[in-house]
Amino acid sequence: MRTADVVVIGGGIHGCSTALHLALRGLKPILVEKDYAGRHASGVNAGGVRQLARDLAEIPLSISSMDLWEKIEDLVGDDCGFTNNGTVLVAENDEELASFRARVDDLRMRGYTHEELIGRDELKRLVPAVSDHCPGGVVSRRDGAADPFRTTQAFRKRAIERGAEVIEGVTVTGLARVGDVWRVETSAGPIEAPKVVNAAGAWADRIAAMLGEPVPLTVVAPMLMVTSRLPAFIDPVVILRGRKLSFKQLDNGTVVIGGGHLAVPYRDRNETVIDWTKLAISARTVWELFPAMRIATIVRAWAGIEAYMPDGIPVVGPSATSEGVYHQFGFSTHGFQLGPGTGAMMAELVATGATNVPIDGLGIERFGTLKPG
């Protein structure tokens, strides 16, 4: 019988980060991944490292995560391609700008200063290529972007170096309480551990269902597309509120265009089918916002499979039904930035039973007691 202190289910950035932080606390985690680490959303997302425009309940986790991103090389031995040229939320008209001002004022009252309102001049200074019709926006200057697959692999590698065991190509088939421990049945035999972390992303509802704890998770696959190399013309990541768009140029000159239009996901086949009519909407939005992009060439479009919760915020914290089990999933298309900090918080929670980073409002109990089945 294989045994561990903690079994972490899922090898996305969250599972790998939690495994690393558990190992750093001297615990022995075994991470079980059904494909390979970073195969899905963690490896193929837009790579935005963003505190900007987050739900209030996520902000403490996001800020604690940002502190880790800024010393990511110390943590995982790889710079993960992290750059911090800020994220800019562009207002497309005065009404939008007014609503952004209200949001920034509200955050200030709560003591958060990472979002900063900017007018037309500062917007043009930060994003010279932006269309003249935009009156301003919001900037979060510590934000940036990183290489998602490289980051997830770096967490995996460092977790192993610090004593975690990572088993890939192995599926969890059952979860049962046996005496004081959890018996995790897998396609490679059972593993016993007193604690289990469910970081199974788009498949996390199946793990929760094994605990008689169903959750209203939707499987989604946000689409991205990338251009061939262009001369450098934009430093920060640009996002919109009214229309779906995220836009950033990588160091190699390619431009990654995303924003949340969805592909059709098939989670049992690990496949997604691109919806070109929706990517055409993204193309038109880019066309209007950055007129110079019209002749850019799209070389690839893709989508990563992940979980979306009804309220758009993740499920983080202890199980409501099963002692010793913790949830860390449902990041609803914006979980990449949260990976480092949530892993650290989760390791603290698992190891000590409490955490210094507030996670109020993120617990699974907010969905009430749904009937199993």
Partner: protein, 459 residues
């Protein structure tokens, strides 16, 4: 053009022409899309427009294409050239761009007839100006009547290398040398297939071609080739010898052009004899994705005659599926003919199986041309534990350029397989993402607005 068709055929080479002709004649609405200015594919390129009027230069096998093209033209199929298909999804929605305008067209059945492409031939210096593929030279000859000038060296192996040599000689091109890279030991394995080969039409044709070329061009055996030059090719170095050269034409056989079928989710398998990935298909060339068939060389290399036969079989299958009441001729004779041709093929496959040294480069030789990734980088990354080409993308960006891995896919798979000491079957291939051909943002933005979006805008 309509918003939907019974059958969309992608690629107007022999398979596509034959398939479209069959389905259109059975009364199915048929759209045949091809990105070239005229029909014919690679093998019959320029068949309706070539300026090469001396029929002997391109040879009688080339002019077989005339009948195929004429048959398709009168079949009732809608043939659109200059149409770049950039997407095919499992629901058979086809993304295509024509004259800068993108559109999505729905089909009940899709026959992918995207043919073959030349196998990557990564030798030191192969990215220098003055080094081209044999196929590129043949394209220039067929489409524009253009032939090489200056010191010209052909290198590689396979039937098409000898065909190209013969065609160039007939067009009065002086060839300085042919470097034959066929490993000598290949004969041992090929001998098993010799009896079938002797019975196949390939035998007579091949012998004639070899006779035609030998005696007119110095032929050397080469186990190592290097293209040398600073700004452009000046010399070809092989097995310790040097030849001055202005043009080096490389060719070591063709492999299925898998990009569109793979992006549609069609399952592929490794063919150890032909050293390439090919789609998993049933007897009617139906793929793992319902309603999508792959015919022609894209289904596995079989040559032009077999391609047309495969196209017909796939076409008849579409007719049977969409119009069960239509009378479809018995395809038994067609299948038997096809089988004989494919049996003759085994000898050629084993004989011209490219040497490992020309498939699995070492050192600074470039593997991925788009992103300038060397063989050594791929090998080192594989040794560090990177198990497959998709993970390799994240580390080296190989296969992420505009060619979508066409020029490095097999090389990267084979290099990883060599370092891991496993079969390429286990390593697998790049997961291909649409668009399989690049489109501009402006083209994509030109897609007709969907109903839902129009409503959103009106509101």
């Amino acid at each position: 053009m309509n918003a939907s068709y019974d059958v969309i055929v992608v690629g107007a080479g022999p398979a596509g022409l034959a398939a479209a002709s069959v389905t259109a004649r059975a009364g199915l609405s048929t759209l045949l899309l091809d990105e070239n200015p005229g029909v014919g594919g690679q093998i019959y390129r320029g068949i309706t427009s070539t300026p090469v009027s001396n029929r002997a230069i391109l040879g009688e096998d080339y002019w077989v294409g005339t009948a195929l093209a004429a048959d398709a033209k009168t079949s009732g199929a809608e043939i659109v050239n200059g149409a770049t298909v950039w997407s095919l999804d499992p629901e058979r929605l086809v993304g295509v761009s024509i004259a800068g305008q993108a559109r999505l067209i729905q089909a009940k059945r899709v026959i992918v007839a995207t043919g073959s492409q030349e196998r990557p031939f990564p030798i030191p210096g192969w990215t220098l100006p003055g080094v081209m593929t044999g196929g590129a030279a043949q394209t220039a000859l067929k489409a524009y009547g253009m032939v090489p000038d200056g010191h010209t060296v052909l290198a590689g192996s396979g039937p098409l290398l000898w065909l190209l040599a013969a065609q160039l000689l007939r067009a009065r091109v002086k060839l300085d040398a042919i470097l034959d890279t066929t490993p000598r030991l290949n004969w041992v394995r090929a001998l098993v297939g010799l009896p079938d080969f002797l019975l196949s039409p390939y035998f007579g044709k091949g012998l004639k071609l070899l006779r035609e070329v030998r005696g007119k061009v110095p032929i050397f055996h080469a186990a190592h080739i290097e293209a040398v030059g600073t700004d452009r090719l000046t010399e070809v170095v092989f097995d310790g010898r040097r030849l001055p050269a202005d043009l080096l034409l490389l060719h070591q056989g063709v492999v299925p052009n898998v990009n569109l079928a793979m992006a549609a989710g069609v399952a592929h398998e490794w063919n150890e004899r032909q050293l390439c990935f090919q789609p998993v298909l049933d007897a009617d060339f139906g793929s793992s994705v319902p309603g999508i068939a792959v015919a022609g060389d894209g289904a596995g290399i079989g040559g032009a005659t077999a391609a047309a036969e495969r196209g017909r079989i796939a076409g008849f299958a579409a007719v049977r599926a969409l119009r069960p009441e239509a009378s479809v001729p018995d395809t038994q004779a067609l299948r038997q003919k096809l089988q004989r041709e494919e049996m003759g093929r085994a000898f050629l496959d084993w004989l011209y199986r490219p040497a490992e040294s020309f498939r699995r480069p070492t050192g600074d030789t470039v593997a991925c041309r788009c992103e300038e990734v060397t063989a050594e980088q791929v090998r080192v990354t594989a040794r560090m534990g990177c198990e497959g080409p998709n993970q390799m993308k994240a580390f080296l960006r190989c296969g992420m350029g505009p060619c979508q891995g066409r020029l490095c896919g097999l090389t990267v798979t084979e290099l990883i397989a060599a370092e891991r000491e496993v079969s390429p079957a286990e390593v697998g291939y790049y997961r291909l993402r649409p668009p399989v051909k690049p489109i501009t943002l402006g083209e994509l933005a030109s897609l007709p607005i969907a109903e839902a979006e129009r409503k959103a805008v009106e509101r």
